[in-house]
Homo-oligomer: 381 residues x 2
Amino acid sequence: MRSVSVVGIAQLPVKKTYTRSLRQLGAAVTRAAMKDAGVDHIDALYASNMLSDELQCQKHVSALIADEAGLDGVEALQIRAATAGGAAALRVAYLAVASGLVDLAMVVGVEKMSEGAATPALAKALDAQRELADGASLISQNAALMWHYFRHYEPPKEALAHFSVNAHLNARSNANALFREAEYKTDDVLNSRMILPPIHLLDCAPICDGAAAVVLAPSDMARNYGKHPVRILASSAATDRFRAFDRQNPLHLTAVQLSSEKAFRQAKLRADDISFLELHDAFSIMACLTLESSGYAAAGEGWRLAADGEIGIGGRIPVCTMGGLKARGHPVGATALYQVCEIVLQLSGRAGPNQVSDAQFGLMQSVGGIASTVLTHIFGV
Amino acid sequence: MRSVSVVGIAQLPVKKTYTRSLRQLGAAVTRAAMKDAGVDHIDALYASNMLSDELQCQKHVSALIADEAGLDGVEALQIRAATAGGAAALRVAYLAVASGLVDLAMVVGVEKMSEGAATPALAKALDAQRELADGASLISQNAALMWHYFRHYEPPKEALAHFSVNAHLNARSNANALFREAEYKTDDVLNSRMILPPIHLLDCAPICDGAAAVVLAPSDMARNYGKHPVRILASSAATDRFRAFDRQNPLHLTAVQLSSEKAFRQAKLRADDISFLELHDAFSIMACLTLESSGYAAAGEGWRLAADGEIGIGGRIPVCTMGGLKARGHPVGATALYQVCEIVLQLSGRAGPNQVSDAQFGLMQSVGGIASTVLTHIFGV
């Protein structure tokens, strides 16, 4: 296989609502990523989007974006893994370039959640027959995990709120983040509107619109493109029992563990070699559980890293350095591509006030549903 | 890149309605394909399904099928390209195995169209803003192409009916086909219910349930698995202007042409080296236009191959040898995997009464929407 690098990136600022259409956002960010890579053509476009079936009545977004971007005749496919779709598209592009069959691959994620009822559509990441039938949603299942976490480990009541505080702090200096004004303390999280006990509004990533894209190329050709190539050192995917409460221990995310282990093996790195983590903090409980399940903290101890300030930009293991899903925003199908852009900025020393010092290796994790599917990618300069 | 082979196949008989659930059909055919390949594990599962978002309220079918099939922890992603999704999943599995990163890849397609209103969901393969808003559906757009074809080329009125007659004839001896009883003449097609002028019922592939799966492995390991390995000699994808009537000549399918040319180039074969064609005959006009656009007939002349009997099993270029989408059935997300199974049976001399003599190379074409996306695969022994 060929080594693969990211040679171009582009992200549109996350917003509550864009007036531009889904296809226009997808095409705009595609062209911007091509410009960043310094290329005037690509060989294939792999698209990620989760909700257009319901919200835009579109089930063919890959060809739609390719057409709108003027990429005459290009290969275009859509890749999905529920809320981890962006990482799934990245993985397919990685496989395509690694195989030698595709040289320049575009990975574009776009989501326009403002056009309709996103939450019921998101819930279809769960089991319709056995979870939706019981009234479940992604919020309710995360609430259930959070309830179990507090009951089982009895951490202080503000334990998980620290993750939201960190995310909002980091988002303040990210021009592409949705929430750049707010500065919260843990009390603000606990006093925010109760969405579904024990989840408060400030435990949740927002409903929003956004698009991000990256261009991949063989590493040995990377210097021909872009100015800041970053290598993909590992790409892995794993699944778990589909329903969280069919698992022996719902607080241990086996797909996080498996995909992390595979990724560390492929990259020939250990957890503590990683300079910073872009985690899937769609809910604060998920940030905590992914930290624990990928080996960064013992079971029941993940929140301590946040409480002790170890996940801050200057901490031992910075997390969600540009605001994460919580505060940069979580336009679902685009989220992982925002994460890749942020990792590339960190590894090329362009993260501005959010720069992690001596950033050598960045790890990105993407969670589909309640970690039924998890993808892990590791990047390095 | 590594050469890739199909080492196991499985198909469930296409039916109007299965009582088994989507996940059960997907899991059953996955296990059956593993059995056929003689393997007790796989490294990755790439799933195709088009309509579960609407019909089953499921947006995470890859992990759902992996769980139901008992494939603990396996990589599982879903791949889409509207009505060409099965071929898109095949292509991704091909890329994964070719890259050297995945050894045993499952490609599973499953569709359960009986559970709701399939036709409006299928229409989302079109442009919601500019086609659905005008009342379009896949049927109406195929009807429009057919109307233009007759107006422009003025063939005899039964010109396209020959494709349906051929498909139904071939389906009679395919145990997995939906329609095994009927034997039609062109008059039956022209006298069947008018769906949307000029499309009659017997111009259309049926709404149905089905599941099919294939296992891919590196060709140099293929002899360790299964008994009838078949090589994938080419895999290609291309797009066109998204809306058929934005194209300079809507009767020429550029994505068919481009993906065919790429595939012939990769396989180092010419059109007339191919022993038989599994075309995407969702509508009789589509069978005709794909024949013309992939170089098997001049523009306006594709129907003559059917009228002259050249597409029959014993003809010059057999088409849809096991009944095609028209008569085997078109459970959309599964269709391309049925096609692969049929091609493998042909190339390994196991096609029974439908056997094409001296079958060396089989070509499969998959059409997404109105050929906005087209994939072409070529197989050989």
